[in-house]
């Protein structure tokens, strides 16, 4: 493995994501085995998988601000931009994931499917919307600073 800090960080992030994915697959397999053994019914299996998926999204959202992907920023403004986007994105995805798990796992069937998708969709909309807004603001400030000099 590389000694380059950015490379090491990327490997750690890949390992973490693989771990979250593996836990989800293992959990789903356990639910399937329990279903085959007659311990749980099909509805519980589906809801269990929804909870697993939601918790996976929440776990990824939790780690998102810590990941700091890509090369080191060249200026403090860029570092501030990255920090802000990662923080808001992390919170949005974590809350979206938890909402997905709660709605998908415990709400009535008529609400759970649409509600859980709306919850994660809203989280993603907040993340992308905030990111675009911050980048737009940053570019506008940079342009006006360039014109001022």
């Amino acid at each position: 493995m590389s000694t380059n800090p950015s490379s090491r960080r990327a490997w750690r992030n890949i390992n973490l994501s693989l771990l979250v994915g593996a836990l989800q697959v293992c959990g789903a397999l356990l639910l399937l085995i329990a279903r085959k053994q007659g311990m749980i019914d099909i509805e519980t299996t589906k809801r269990g998988v929804m909870i697993l998926v939601g918790l996976g999204v929440a776990a990824y959202g939790n780690w998102m601000p810590k990941m700091l992907e890509g090369p080191s920023p060249q200026s403090r403004d860029v570092a501030a931009l990255r920090q802000s986007i990662n923080r808001v994105g992390g919170w949005a995805m974590m809350l979206g994931g938890i909402a997905f798990a709660v709605i998908g796992g415990f709400m009535p069937r008529s609400v759970s499917v649409v509600g859980s998708i709306v919850a994660v969709g809203a989280g993603m909309a907040v993340m992308v919307g905030h990111g675009l807004w911050r980048v737009f603001q940053f570019n506008r400030r940079s342009r006006s600073a360039a014109h001022g000099t």
């Binding site: 998102m64 601000p65 700091l68 080191s72 403090r76 570092a79 501030a80 920090q83 919170w91």
Partner: protein, 110 residues
Amino acid sequence: MNAVFKALADPTRRKVLELLRQRPMTAGELADHFPVSRPTMSAHFTVLREADLIESLKIGTTITYQLKLSVLEDALLGFARLVGAGARDSATADRTQKIRPKHLQKGTAK
């Protein structure tokens, strides 16, 4: 996780994280907000870095610190701030002396 709790237990370090929430700052800018010496601040930064709560970036010729909190750590910081809101600044200054690196403590020991 123990390192995170240790780092968040100190009001000065919590204030550093609060300041870094606004924007990345240099060590000098952060130190200006506290009535403690630079080596003491440096020790605080070391504790925060070891807990993986901040990251130092080399931008140009200056070292800039930026926040590296997971969402749960961020929430924990907010909770710790709520609980420790009554802590006095003077108490902070006294406590921060205890975390100075050993080689610095030796030099100032009487």
